[in-house]
Amino acid sequence: MTAVRLFLANTNPKCWTRIIGLTVMLCATVTGLHAQNEKTAPPANAKAAAPIDFTGQWVSVVTEDWRWRMVTPSKGDFTSIPLNEAGQKIGDAWDPAKDEAAGLQCKAYAAPNILRMPERLRISWADDDTLKLETDTGMQTRMFYFKEPKSKGSAWQGVSQASWELTTGYNFFSVMGVDGSVQSGRKAAGQRVRKPTSSLTVVTTNIRPGYIRKNGVPFSDKAVLTEYFDRTNESDGDSWLVVTSILDDPVYLNQPFVITTHFQKQTDETGWNPTPCSAR
């Protein structure tokens, strides 16, 4: 405020009124504009609140882990996975014939591995608060619930709670609440600021135990899968879906297993080829 004092000390008092008027007008205009944007009523549902559109058909482009995704790796090949001893023991005992006999061909098509399959995805809104992801490979369906999940889990795709990712920060002066309301002034100082980014967060639990890879690398019923869905827009018109997955499994993993899988946007529905699960 020293600069303000110096300024006032050297300013003709006749100008004060004009200065004050201008300052107040400027503040009122900026605040008004800001508030106008922020005081808009919060969107009625997840679909309306969507900061980005993930719907449409996407194709996986397998440029990573090819030897472990396009073909079924050999038994005991756990390359890249932070598998603990208990996990390795189970992986070493993998027997696809046994899985087939038990009707468990879809163990590798569960939520933690389904997006690693060479496949096409179809993403659509099942209702205003539920995003649906279907795969042609393994013919699996995942439901991402923005509200109370309708599924109780224990299936291959578990229960997926979805939310639009929020940025977190601290603001000294004004705060926008998660519901879109704005608080300003000293009461709001130091409070947390949250604002939607363009990412979708999906946390999946209650997954029926299955495989991280087709060759029997296990995950347990304690596994929690956190996924971040992002979409890029390229200058040549291409668009990519980028899914970062973090699998926590205290039973079979030494540390979270973190991978990212990419899919290219299709402009049509060609190539959709529903194929049942295969244990081999």
Binding site: L8, M70, V71, S174, V193, K195, T201, V258, T261, H262
Partner: protein, 592 residues
């Protein structure tokens, strides 16, 4: 001042104003600052020990990319000039932890640039956020290229150009220096995802897309990296380049035997990336169709009319030396307190523009002109440019060349000389020439029987710049002017000589810069890359010759196919077929 109400109103106004501005900043962009540990939960075998030779499944290589890869011999990394090549911008995510920090304008507090330091091989990238323009297409390329960033919602999108040719896998898969990189940096809490999209018209049929992950690791300690190249294998001849004849590479199918990668997939190609390919993997009789197109941009012959429209581009190479680029060969000029020293003179119609470009740098007169060869686009402006300068008093600038240049321009008395006398050198040299001029030593080095038998390279010692003439070009295969005494062997010897004379500053980059006869500014690594290419093509043609192939059969075998997208564009006077024929004939004659 003593009106509490006024003070209150002003304070409130300022607080409101600042609060609005601050809240905008808080709602702004993601902060990537910090130390990040690399997670290798994908492609660990490829990024750690590395894939097998010949293993390219899932890579969208075109036919040229495959042929180049099949020529690669790991032993090339033992050459001193290859040892310190670091991971380039499109491969830094393969290995090593990183540190990201921002450079902020002290006045506005806006982010000017993001810096990314990779521990492995100590590489630092700069991603400019201040909307600065790209450097000239003729500017030097680097391993990390020139990167600019732009926010797209919560993603930082980075575009990188000006990359040196580099491997993106340690099995011979190259991205050319015409390739570009797009990245998306996305942060979710303590995880950073970097998506890379590598595009290359020379070696990739489709963009190669990769995603890599890091986790925030604030306490990690980064190490330095000091690379000092040394001869790892003794008694190799100068210019030795280990490679495989691509059609005879014995390791092409190693991954099939070792890792059971289906044969139909192992050589890669765009088809191998898509789900449909799974069906083909189950059918051993299906063959992957080759992608045969290479993208060769035709060079347009210049007429006088478009010479009129053409402008001269000036780039400072280093210290006292500049490069001027117009229509013909590059001009190198050295500028000092006394005068201007010019290497090559382009074409006569461009001289007024060349003089104007020089005037933009200095008002000192041109005192010396050097011709690096007899070529019309190196000597065309001799007379006019010499007149535009002066040596002593009112005499035109001196024109200096190796004596064979004058010999080939002139003719015995009574006969018509092939080149107008006005363009002849006024002075020639036949013994080593060293001058101290404009405050630095200048060495004129005759390279015997390379592009022609009159070639000179000019080494500005103080500025640490070599002007190579047509011995080296970033645009075409070497022009071997056999009619004027040029040889393939001489070209290779001269390229190796330039490599021997030049010293990189660090990480096989910078230090001595080289102005090529045609194309962009280079350093030693670029000459090494060109020398490797020329040597490998020589090996292939020699192999075909040893197998008794005729010239027609050699041409049909396309021994240059993997480099045609880069150097094969025909010019009005030189084609890849002429290059192959020159090499073939010379090698055939040397066998006799």
């Amino acid at each position: 001042m003593n009106h509490p109400s006024i003070r209150f109103l002003l304070k409130s106004g300022l607080v409101l104003l600042i609060s609005n501005v601050c809240s905008c900043y808080v709602m702004g962009q993601v902060d990537f600052s910090g130390n990040w540990a690399l997670l290798m939960h994908e492609d660990e075998a490829w990024r750690g020990p590395g894939p097998e030779l010949g293993e390219y499944e899932g890579l969208p290589l075109n036919a040229a990319g495959k042929m180049r890869a099949w020529s690669w011999n790991a032993s090339i990394n033992t050459l001193p000039e290859h040892q310190c090549i670091p991971l380039p911008a499109d491969d830094f995510t393969d290995f090593g932890n990183i540190r990201v920090f921002k450079e902020v304008d002290p006045a506005t507090q806006q982010v000017i640039a993001w810096h990314e330091y990779t521990e492995w091989q100590a590489q630092e990238r700069v991603i400019w956020m201040d909307s600065r323009p790209k450097p000239s297409e003729l500017a030097a390329h680097t391993w990390q290229g020139f990167s600019t960033g732009k926010w797209d919602r919560n993603e930082l999108t980075i575009q990188t150009t000006h990359l040196k040719e580099a491997l993106f896998e340690r099995v011979g898969t190259y991205r050319s220096d015409r390739g570009t990189l797009t990245e998306h940096w996305i942060r979710h809490g303590n995880y950073l995802t970097i998506m890379l999209i590598i595009s290359d018209p020379v070696y990739l049929a489709k963009p190669l897309v990769r995603t890599r992950q890091y986790v925030l690791d604030p306490d990690q300690k980064m190490r330095g990296y000091d690379c000092v190249p040394t001869a790892e294998i003794a008694n190799r001849p100068q210019g030795y380049v280990p490679d495989y004849i691509p059609w005879k590479n014995p390791f092409k199918l190693d991954a099939v035997a070792r890792y059971k990668v289906p044969e139909v997939a192992v050589s890669g190609g765009p088809e191998t990336m898509y789900p449909e390919f799974v069906a083909k993997l189950k059918n051993p009789n299906v063959k992957v169709p080759e992608v045969t197109e290479t993208h060769i941009a035709p060079t347009v012959a210049l007429s006088n009319s478009n010479l009129n429209d053409l402008s001269i581009t000036t780039l400072r190479v280093q210290r006292n030396v500049y490069m001027l680029h117009g229509a013909g060969a590059n001009i190198t000029i050295q500028v000092g307190d006394a005068s201007v020293y010019v290497v090559d003179t382009e074409l006569a119609p461009l001289v007024p523009k060349i003089l104007a470009a020089i005037k933009q740098i200095t008002d000192k007169p041109i005192r010396y002109i050097i011709n690096t060869s007899i070529d019309a686009d190196h000597i065309g402006g001799n007379a006019e440019l010499a007149k535009g300068g002066n040596q002593i008093g009112d005499t035109p600038a001196a024109i200096l060349a190796y004596e064979n240049v004058l010999n080939r321009m002139s003719a015995p008395t009574g006969k018509v000389s092939p080149v107008s006398e006005t363009l002849w050198p006024t002075e020639t040299y036949a013994t080593p020439q060293m001058q101290f001029y404009n405050g630095e030593g200048i060495q004129l080095i005759h390279e015997p029987s390379a592009h022609t038998d009159g070639d000179t390279i000019v080494y500005f010692h103080g500025s640490d710049v070599i002007s190579s003439g047509d011995i080296f070009s970033t645009e075409t295969y070497p022009v071997i002017d056999r009619k004027n005494g040029g040889t393939f062997k001489g070209i290779l010897q001269s390229l190796n000589h330039i490599i021997e004379l030049s010293i990189p500053k660090g990480h096989q980059e910078g230090g001595t810069y080289i102005v090529p006869g045609h194309g962009r500014i280079c350093d030693q690594a670029d000459v090494v890359s060109y020398r490797d290419m020329v040597t490998m093509i020589g090996h292939r043609i020699a192999d075909l010759l040893a197998d008794g192939k005729t010239l027609e059969q050699v041409l049909a075998a396309q021994p240059t196919m993997d480099f045609d997208g880069r150097y094969g564009a025909p010019t009005p006077s030189w084609t890849k077929e002429m290059f192959i024929e020159s090499v073939y004939n010379e090698l055939k004659e040397s066998k006799k």
